[in-house]
């Protein structure tokens, strides 16, 4: 589904990603771990098409298409979803209203009929259960006054409604207490299926106790230093990132 080849990315002229190769198939969950500044959030943003990131070399092919040639909204239409690390507040814009606008834009793109308010609301009620969303978050402005945990839940809730093919979860575990983490992870697990690929970008191993990945990649200095299964994450937990970084330095 997703094929990243020799990806190099600079931010303001400074190289951040220095040659990433990654193959992800439908149905797989890949965890991308790494210390701060290793380039993992940059990778997430580049996949979603945020401006300010310059791809200096390499290709990203998604469902047979050149992903980098698409605008961010076109990527969303094609099924790319980013759960933000810091979901932004948009005062005065109703949370559900924005989501409906997004869903209907995606449906239009696929030649499907737009959902009317009634159908949309019943869809929303059903999807809210996935992350145990409080009804009151429906009537509030986008992320405004949400607690950290509520914001992260809202991201996964949006994912549930938009049903992406490729979901990139950028540090969805950060800032969550253990109860919230369990709810969010439970939501993500319910959204795993054979047609959907998920990339978990995370700093900590603990998320992977709840969402068991098919593969774990460890990023440092803008490159994948090691790839393994869940045990790699546990090993990392034991030795710390210094272990990978010193190896990377030596290589």
């Amino acid at each position: 589904m997703l094929s990243i080849k020799d990806l190099h990315v600079s931010v303001a002229g400074k190289p951040i990603v220095n040659g990433i190769d990654l193959e992800i198939k439908a149905g797989e969950v890949h965890a991308i771990m790494g210390p701060n500044g290793s380039g993992k959030s940059t990778l997430a943003h580049v996949l979603a098409g945020r401006s300010g990131y310059e791809v200096t070399r390499g290709t990203v092919t998604y469902m047979g298409k050149d992903l980098l040639a698409l605008s961010p909204d076109e990527r969303a239409h094609e099924g790319v979803f980013l759960a933000f690390q810091y979901p932004v507040e948009i005062p005065g814009v109703n949370n559900i209203y924005m989501l409906k606008a997004g869903l209907n834009a995606i449906r239009r793109h696929h030649g499907e009929e737009e959902l009317d308010a009634v159908d949309f609301l019943s869809l929303v009620r059903e999807k809210m259960k996935i992350v145990d969303m409080d009804e009151s978050l429906m009537s509030r402005s986008v992320n405004e006054g949400f607690s950290g945990g509520e914001k992260k839940r809202n991201e996964i809730f949006q994912m549930a409604v938009l049903e992406p093919r490729l979901a990139v979860l950028d540090e969805t575990d950060s800032g969550l207490d253990i109860d919230a983490l369990k709810i969010v992870a439970g939501g993500v697990n319910k959204l795993r299926n054979k047609d959907r690929a998920i990339i978990l970008v995370t700093h900590y191993q603990r998320l992977l106790d709840y969402i068991v990945p098919d593969k774990v990649h460890v990023l440092a200095h803008g490159r994948i230093q090691r790839t393994g299964d869940k045990s790699l994450a546990l090993e990392l937990e034991k030795h710390g990132y210094g272990w990978i970084e010193s190896k990377a330095g030596a290589a």
């Binding site: 961010p72 969303a76 980013l82 005062p91 814009v93």
Partner: protein
């Protein structure tokens, strides 16, 4: 939010969709302004002597005045002798007795503008007075309103049919000496709407006036007077459009509101005069004086305005809070795109005890637009317990526009509480990217965010106008983001 597939071509073509001209035979007088012209206008309307006399006093006073220059706007010099001060559709000579006799071309014009004047097709529950250039061409639901004792008619009819009310109230809120444009209006005003809500009556429907400039080189000078007697209640709204033309046209209106004891007046405006093109050519000069007098105790006047049109807007709907416990409100959204300029705000004059006022102003600047909030909160000595809350927010789109805030406060009573909050923000890339990532196009995202910014004001508008206002914002912002 556009609910159909977004089509740039259509959107661009629709940028100002009210820009057409109606080809209709008009009775138009020669350009220029003099005592003779004032007499001519008065004669055309067969006015009683008191009216002509008032106009002439206003005219003589106007000749002693100078244009105000304190507003933060650049105005090309206006030659008042080039302007035509009266133009009316010919068919008005033998005025239609009922809606069925109104010139079909006029009905079609308003149909096109989305204001059907046939009562059976009319906006549900809204009575409309349609003002075309200098005169009122139709008023709907007159009979139904009369049953409730409500008078809603063209200003000229009121001068003829209710001279006592006119003499009692005209110019008592905005005297002709008030300012340059108010004096000019008082001398040459041609028509407008008159509303009288008798004691204890809650007006059974929304009242609205729809102003349309059509003729070339004419100015529009209408006057609106609304009187709400004791414990009455009325909601009034006005809309405005004009054809697209390369030259500027002057619109100098006066609105006076009077609320007696326990009366409530809600006045909403959706102003969409032609704003000029993307190079700043043409557009309406909208120089308007609006003031409400909370004359009675516990009376309330609430202004809501959505200003998206006009090349220049110079307008300060204000409240004089004379009665004890009276309440004044001002909710405003002003949008300037391309080369539009707006200097708008309000004055809240606290005279009575325990008077309260609220000011919520949302300014949006895009393109090369210049947007100023100018507001005065004045608390007089006797206004014990007066309270004001002011919130002024500015939103900038792009880096060539400007937002300015000029808040003035004059407080001479120590028990008054006056609060002012202000903010200036830009639409952040983070907000845009968040919307884009959810599949929303850039244009739709901007309009979504701007509408969110305006929400506190839009919610004050009557339902169908709130929807229209949201749509208008999207259209007015076309091309504002690259």
């Amino acid at each position: 939010m556009a609910s159909t597939k977004y089509d740039i071509k259509t959107a661009v073509d629709q940028r100002y969709k009210h820009g057409f001209v109606t080809d209709i035979e008009a009775d138009t007088i020669q350009p220029g302004l003099s005592e003779d012209i004032v007499r001519l206008i008065s004669a055309k309307k067969s006015e009683p002597a008191f009216m002509l006399d008032w106009r002439l006093r206003a005219f003589r006073h106007w000749t002693t005045m100078k244009e105000p220059v304190w507003a933060h706007v650049r105005v090309a010099p206006i030659n008042y002798q080039d302007i035509i001060y009266y133009s009316a559709p010919k068919s008005q000579d033998d005025r239609p007795k009922s809606l069925d006799e109104v010139d079909p071309k006029l009905l079609e014009t308003y149909e096109k503008l989305g204001i059907p004047l046939h009562e059976r097709a009319a906006l549900a529950g809204v009575a409309v007075d349609a003002v075309f250039d200098s005169v009122s061409v139709a008023t709907t639901f007159k009979d139904k309103l009369a049953e409730a004792g409500v008078i809603f008619c063209p200003f000229s009819d009121a001068v003829r049919d209710h001279p006592d009310l006119i003499q009692q109230y005209l110019g008592t809120v905005v005297p002709y000496t008030d300012n340059y444009y108010a004096a000019l209006n008082s001398a040459v005003f041609s028509d407008g709407s008159f509303v009288f809500i008798p004691k204890g009556v809650r007006c059974p429907m929304e009242l609205s006036t729809y102003f349309r400039i059509n003729a070339r080189n004419t100015g529009q000078f209408e006057r609106t007077l609304i009187i709400a007697e004791e414990a009455s209640n009325v909601s009034y709204l006005e809309g405005c459009t004009a054809p697209m033309r390369d030259e500027n046209q002057l619109h100098a209106a006066v609105v006076e509101l009077i609320a007696l004891d326990n009366a409530k007046i809600k006045y909403s405006t959706v102003q969409n005069w032609y704003p000029g093109d993307e190079h700043g050519r043409g557009g309406i000069y909208n120089f308007v004086t609006k003031r409400g007098d909370c004359r009675g105790v516990s009376s309330k006047i609430s202004w809501t305005q959505v200003e998206t049109g006009s090349a220049i807007t110079w307008k300060y709907p204000s409240c004089v809070l004379r009665g004890d416990n009276s309440v004044g409100e001002f909710y405003s959204v002003a949008l300037t795109n391309n080369y539009q300029q707006a200097d708008t705000g309000t004055k809240m004059i606290h005279i009575g005890k325990n008077t309260r006022s609220t000011i919520i102003s949302k300014g949006i600047s895009a393109g090369h637009g210049q947007n100023s909030y100018r507001g005065l909160v004045k608390v007089l000595k006797g206004a014990d317990g007066a309270r004001n809350y002011t919130q002024c927010d500015s939103l900038l789109i792009g880096d060539k526009c400007g937002a300015h805030t000029f808040p003035y406060m004059e407080v001479t009573n120590p028990t008054a509480i006056v609060e002012h909050e202000a903010s200036t923000s830009k639409i952040s890339e983070d907000q845009l990217f968040y919307c884009l990532q959810r599949g929303i196009s850039r244009e739709d995202a901007v309009s979504l965010i701007v509408n969110g910014f305006c929400k506190a004001v839009f919610k004050e508008l009557p339902m169908e106008f709130a929807v229209e206002a949201g749509r208008l914002m999207s259209v007015s912002l076309e091309g504002a983001v690259g």
